[in-house]
């Protein structure tokens, strides 16, 4: 158990900068998720923490201990690999016991702790089997049991659920969450699945092109994305973005000619930058559609209405932009119908048109 402190870590592969001077402090016992599209550098950052990659710059500390130049085995980490990396030539028992054996623990302790780890993952019946005799889900459990069987300061997980089928993934996700809450260890979890990130993490670090764009609690990342990219990557459907102009000295914005008054905070942000053109971001559930014209509502036309059970997902054309809107399940919206969209001003986020940063 330890705090992880990452200072200006840089990793290059030839001319490609995989991790660009990233700094991040992960407090002891926190479950942090590194989230981003493939190629964003999240796995490379994880491997730098593990010591499987040598950093090209910066330092990494575990609880004040500088581990930057330590080999993997001296960092006191455990890791779950995307491919599980369960040893095919060893039984499940020997797989789980491997870390304990490497620490030369007495036989009785190895046996006890291996058994305990297996029970936590509900695989105590499989201890005598070889990995080839297990299903993918069972192998995944072996990989997790192996990682938690011995004492490590830090638990690293590299897309552990991505090779499971959808149903198993849901089940395992819930189980992992319960398990890791009990373990109270520092966890760094890499995924490209935003739902996984939202459901598991104490905090989420959203990465793109080797940089961390935002580190916040899941609900903050969802509600108040720090960048255009974060809003478009997280949430299903992703955040809507509409081109808007600053009007009324920055106290309001105009979208397709309709004026929207801004709450004080957004207005201050807009006035501070003095930008004339911005992106207005708003999530589907923060837009209220209506069949009747109303003041400060954007007129549009419904292209598609998809009943999803809990709600109806509308795709609405507003000017040249397409907007996703959640309507109540009992509402009667049809395609080709005219609709007026009322945006919840408190939930509106404004983004700089060039940098993509939130104002």
């Amino acid at each position: 158990m330890a705090e992880i402190r990452i200072e200006n870590v840089r990793k290059e592969f030839g001319k490609v900068v995989a991790v660009r001077d990233v700094s991040l402090v992960i407090p002891d016992r926190e479950f942090i998720v590194l989230l981003g599209p493939s190629g964003c550098g999240k796995t490379t950052l994880l491997r730098c923490i593990a010591g499987l990659e040598q950093v090209d710059g910066g330092r990494i500390y575990f609880g004040g201990r500088d581990v930057t130049d330590l080999p993997v085995r001296q960092r006191r980490i455990s890791m779950v690999f995307q491919s599980y990396a369960v040893f095919p030539h060893m039984t499940v028992f020997e797989n789980i016991a491997f870390g304990l054996r490497m620490q030369h623990k007495p036989d009785a302790e190895v046996k006890r702790r291996t058994q305990a780890a297996a029970e936590l993952l509900h695989i105590e019946e499989l201890l005598e089997r070889y990995p080839a005799q297990l299903s993918g889900g069972q192998r995944q459990r072996v990989a997790v049991a192996r990682a938690i069987a011995y004492d490590a300061d830090v638990l690293l997980m590299d897309e552990p659920l991505s090779n499971l089928d959808a149903l198993l993934r849901l089940e395992m996700r819930a189980e992992l969450k319960r398990l890791l809450e009990e373990l109270k260890t520092t966890v760094v979890y890499v995924t490209h699945d935003q739902v996984e990130a939202l459901s598991l993490g104490d905090r989420i670090a959203v990465m793109r092109s080797g940089e961390i764009l935002q580190v916040d609690a899941p609900i903050t990342v969802y509600d108040r994305p720090a960048a255009h990219f974060v809003g478009s990557f997280i949430g299903n459907p992703p955040m809507n973005f509409l081109p808007a102009q600053a009007v009324d000295g920055g106290a309001a914005v105009a979208v397709e000619g309709t004026w929207l008054a801004l709450p004080d905070e957004s207005a201050r942000g807009l006035q501070r930058t003095g930008a004339a053109e911005v992106w207005l971001g708003i999530r589907a559930e923060n837009i209220e559609p209506s069949g009747e014209p109303a003041s400060a509502a954007l007129p549009g036309r419904i292209l598609v209405a998809e009943p999803l059970g809990s709600h109806i997902l509308l795709t609405v054309r507003v000017g040249s932009a397409l907007v996703k809107v959640n309507a109540r399940a009992d509402a009667s919206f049809r395609a080709d119908q005219e609709v007026w969209l009322k945006l919840n001003a408190d939930k509106v986020r404004l983004f700089d048109k060039t940098t993509g940063r939130a104002l």
Partner: protein, 277 residues
């Protein structure tokens, strides 16, 4: 479900032809081996008889023993085994690390290295024979088992390197990294994880090298005078030998290759990247 409809006639004929071709090729290889084996275990009178019987009528070890007890044969068998074991040991000691490096690391010139390895096989030993023998004489390696083993190593290395590299490619890098996260050194991870998993393939590659050395004639014949390997001795002796001797010699030298095929059949495919397991 009803029974599956039979495949169309043309498909069935096509498949029949494939099997027919396979059987013919198989017979082409098996029949001579079979006849040699029958003769090698028949008494002398039967071997000299004409026409020769297609089925073994009287089985005896007489002919084989006659061959093995002939002057110099056992010595050359011993030389052959020594040369093959040396070759195997040296080529694995050099080839396996090289194969591992090719499998695990991306380094400048890696692809060229691969091609260079193969291109060494483009030089026929016949062309190299004169420079080779003069070099060996000046180094004092001529007519020694070590000398022959070194030549065989040079011949075996390309296959050893490429084969071991494909074996190690088959052992996921994640496995070694997982071992390292759990407290293994780089070498420890190799020894505890990569090596045990590669072992069957490495054994197959070793047997391959062994048989290559066992069967190699030309190099062994030009490099040795007194300390001949079995093929080198047979190539000199067979033409002047009685027929039973030829059959027995032929059979004796055939056997290791046959046994080898039985053992490594399923690895031969994985050697070239096709996985059977």
């Amino acid at each position: 479900m009803t029974t599956r409809p039979a495949p169309p006639l043309s498909r069935r004929i096509g498949r029949g032809l494939v099997y027919l071709a396979a059987i013919l090729i198989g017979l082409y290889i098996v029949i001579p081996i079979y006849l040699v084996a029958v003769m090698a275990f028949s008494p002398r009178a039967v071997v000299y008889a004409y026409p020769k019987p297609l089925l073994p009528t009287q089985v005896t070890l007489e002919t084989m023993l006659f061959f093995l007890n002939s002057y110099g044969i056992l010595d050359s068998v011993k030389n052959s085994v020594l040369v093959a074991v040396f070759t195997l040991a040296i080529s694995l000691a050099i080839g396996a690390p090289a194969g591992y490096a090719l499998a695990r690391y991306i380094f400048p010139g890696g692809d060229i290295y691969r091609i260079l390895i193969l291109s060494t096989r483009a030089f026929p030993v016949v062309i190299l024979s004169i420079p080779l023998i003069t070099t060996y004489i000046s180094w004092g390696l001529d007519d020694t088992t070590l000398g022959v083993a070194l030549l065989h190593t040079a011949m075996a290395l390309p296959t050893t390197i490429l084969v071991t590299s494909s074996i190690f490619v088959g052992v996921s890098k994640d496995l070694e990294e997982a071992a390292m996260t759990m407290g293994c050194t780089r070498a420890g991870a190799f020894r505890r994880v990569a090596l045990p998993l590669a072992l069957p393939g490495l054994a197959a590659s070793a047997i391959f090298t062994f048989v290559l050395s066992w069967n190699e004639v030309f190099g062994a014949a030009i490099l040795t005078v007194q300390n001949q390997t079995l093929p080198a001795r047979l190539i000199v002796q067979l033409n002047q030998s009685p027929i039973p001797f030829r059959f027995a010699g032929g059979f004796f030298i055939l056997v290791p290759a046959l046994v080898f095929m039985l053992f490594v059949r399923r690895y031969l495919f994985s050697l070239w990247g096709v996985k059977l397991r």
